[in-house]
């Protein structure tokens, strides 16, 4: 109890509250602008968090990411352009509702069920993380090795249309992670004589490059043309809440559970949660034919799922230091900077900060309702801002942010290189998530691999002769088995997709 009171004291300062509200508004704005993703919002926020207190810094990221995922629903509903990939699963339904003149029904569902999903995921986080941490204290290097490998496998196969490209993306990330002195022998590796690279490749400029600069380049290539439709006015979004809660409480619960489960899986993010949950909803619905024609049932379930996954993705991130998606990958970077090194010991030595973060999760999902309402009221004005005006501002902000990460132009160079790399990767269907997770998980994987190898003098059986390690290894094998089975069942599907693409 004492700890929870301390956590309250940490959160209830003017500084933290103002930061959270400001970060929420930033997240809402970035999420609502089509083409700017929630991950980009988080990456742009990070340079600012260097200068905040730990709780304010993490709170800003929590609030910003939750708001951005919800705000992505708004341009989806009004213009049929999902603001973030996580909203793409049900964009047909919300847009058709708007066309039928029922925009308030669709958007009302988005606000309410995003908040409820987020709260459910948070509750799971609050209860699952500390108990998992008690268990994780017993882990040694082989267990961490298998968990890291499990996370990377999920990341590669959850999002990739071509497994080879997903794996290559992962290997790019792992290679980036290998740069510098931070390796078992402590020798300069892949530094090519550069002193700056000895510290490794800074994660923050890489994120800014991959997620923001690549988008700037894409806008320049498209000539800055954007959406020119004027969205319609939206009525009272609260009107149908009671009815929807009564009719769709089962869908809400199922969406919450699906989203939370997908979120906890390392490597699968909120977009995957939304797709899986929409598919499940349709499969069990009494009226599957209505899906995609302006039916709110799938929106309820998938809208709850993507926000639930966002909170539960923090479970593996906080307990093992293994990120659940690209956003928590960035969070882990921030936690290290703030001296809150993720891992089970965080719950033993710093419980009040962790509980403060949990409180902020609850707070963020509650203020989502009034702020979301305000955003929907103002959406007409926000959606009129053109990309041609936004992108130069984002570019200069990126440059300063990358510079601030270590107060040298080295950061800007890294950002530029990875902006180009990120652009080329997306153009060629290389998924970004495996690369990002590779950069974060790479050092954990290497450290635990080499430690185990040296401890066991090369005896590979030592990787699986502890009970927990063996259990994780068994899950890992089952996962690979299911992947291989799905390859044998549908060997031609990806080839056909690739061939159909160039038109």
């Amino acid at each position: 109890m004492d700890v929870i009171l301390q956590a309250f004291a940490l959160v209830a300062t003017g500084n933290v509250i103002v930061t959270i509200i400001a970060a929420s508004m930033f997240g809402l704005f970035v999420g609502a602008v089509p083409g700017l993703t929630a991950t980009m919002a988080t990456a742009l926020l990070v340079p600012l968090t260097f200068f905040m207190e730990p709780v304010a810094a993490v709170g800003a990221i929590v609030a910003c990411s939750a708001m951005a995922i919800f705000a992505g629903d708004i341009p989806g509903a009004l213009l049929r352009i999902p603001g973030t990939p996580a909203s793409a699963a049900y964009v047909e339904d919300t847009y058709k509702l708007t066309q039928k003149g029922q925009a308030e029904l669709g958007l009302g569902a988005c606000v309410l069920f995003s908040a409820l999903g987020g709260l459910f995921g948070t509750i799971v986080l609050i209860f699952a993380a500390p108990s998992l941490a008690e268990f994780a204290v017993k882990f040694s290097s082989p267990e961490y090795f298998w968990i890291a490998l499990l996370g990377l496998t999920c990341a590669v196969f959850m999002g990739a249309s071509s497994p080879a490209k997903g794996l290559l993306s992962l290997f790019i990330g792992l290679t980036i992670a290998s740069v510098g002195l931070n390796n078992p022998a402590g020798v300069p590796r892949l530094t090519f004589g550069s002193t700056e690279m000895m510290a490794g490749i800074d994660f923050i400029p890489v994120m800014i490059g991959i997620f923001a600069i690549s988008e700037v380049l894409r806008t320049v290539l498209s000539g800055g043309e954007g959406w020119q439709q004027a969205p319609e006015a939206v009525g009272n979004i609260f009107r149908d809440w009671g009815g929807m809660l009564r009719t769709y409480w089962k869908q809400l619960l199922r969406g919450n559970i699906t989203g939370t489960a997908v979120g906890i899986l390392p490597g699968a993010g909120s977009d995957v949660a939304a797709y899986v949950s929409y598919a499940i909803s349709r499969r069990f619905s009494k009226t599957p034919e209505k899906y995609g024609t302006g039916h709110v049932e799938g929106v309820v379930e998938a809208g709850a799922a993507n926000n639930a996954s966002l909170s539960s993705a923090w479970v593996p991130a906080l307990v093992f230091g293994i990120p659940g998606d690209t956003m928590t990958a960035i969070v882990i970077g921030v936690l290290y900077v703030k001296g809150m090194n993720p891992g089970p010991t965080l719950f033993i030595f710093n419980p009040q900060t962790i509980y403060a973060v949990f409180l902020i999760f609850i707070l963020a999902n509650l203020i989502m309702i009034p702020l979301g309402w305000a955003l929907i009221k103002f959406s007409k004005n926000i959606l009129r801002v053109s990309k041609a005006v936004l992108m130069p501002l984002i570019l200069i902000f990126c440059i300063v942010g990358a510079f601030a990460s270590n107060n040298a132009v080295y950061g800007v160079t890294i950002m530029l290189i990875f902006g180009v790399v990120g652009y080329l990767m997306e153009e060629n269907d290389f998924p970004i998530a495996p690369c990002v997770l590779g950069i974060v998980i790479g050092p954990i994987l290497e450290k635990n691999l080499i430690t185990t190898l040296i401890k066991s003098q090369g005896n590979l059986l030592d990787f699986i002769n502890r009970p927990i390690a063996f259990a994780i290894f068994a899950i890992f094998c089952l996962l690979w088995l299911s992947i291989i089975v799905s390859w044998i069942r549908a060997p031609r599907r990806t080839d056909e997709m690739l061939r159909a693409e160039p038109d």
Partner: protein
């Protein structure tokens, strides 16, 4: 379910795609050079495993996946090495991208000499003009953005943004 889809809904029009053969070749060469590089890393005395183990495993993975890409690429027959959509071929737009990259490069080279505010104004202004924002609006926004960034990062967050030729601003 296809989680790879959403990005494509947003950016359908643009394309700069390399053929699988080309990508396979590039990654194969990268894998081989990484393996060669790792072989030359010093070992931990008395241990079989050290700095080279992990990159060697990565290199093996790179080589394996590029072989897979080369296989599909060669089976698809003679595709062009790189496919550019019409939009990417337009000289104006390519020049825009080149200019963007050069602008960031110029920041890296000149910011110490000229200082943050002038460099930032030049970069944002040039970007606005590339994206065809009206000049008056562009100038006002560029100046405001530079001053705002300077205020947030240098004054509030104490990032040592270089002054260059500009005297220290009063705030």
């Amino acid at each position: 379910m296809n989680p790879g889809l959403p990005d494509k809904i947003i950016n359908q029009v643009l394309s700069m795609r390399f053929s699988d053969t080309m990508l396979g070749t590039v990654f194969l060469l990268a894998g081989i050079s990484l393996a060669w590089y790792s072989f030359n890393l010093p070992a931990i005395p008395g241990q079989n495993y050290g700095a080279a183990t992990f990159p060697l495993l990565i290199a093996m993975g790179l080589i394996g996946c590029s072989a897979r890409l080369l296989y599909t690429g060669i089976r698809q027959g003679s595709e062009p090495w790189v496919f550019l959509s019409d939009q990417v071929r337009s000289p104006r737009k390519l020049a825009g991208v080149a200019a963007t990259l050069l602008l960031v490069l110029s920041y890296i080279v000149f910011v110490q000499v000229i200082g943050f505010i002038p460099t930032a104004i030049i970069i944002t202004l040039a970007m606005f003009l590339i994206l065809k924002v009206r000049p008056v609006k562009a100038v006002i926004l560029a100046v405001l953005a530079a001053i705002l960034c300077d205020f947030i990062f240098r004054t509030m967050l104490l990032v040592p943004l270089p002054f260059g030729i500009v005297p220290r601003l009063p705030w």
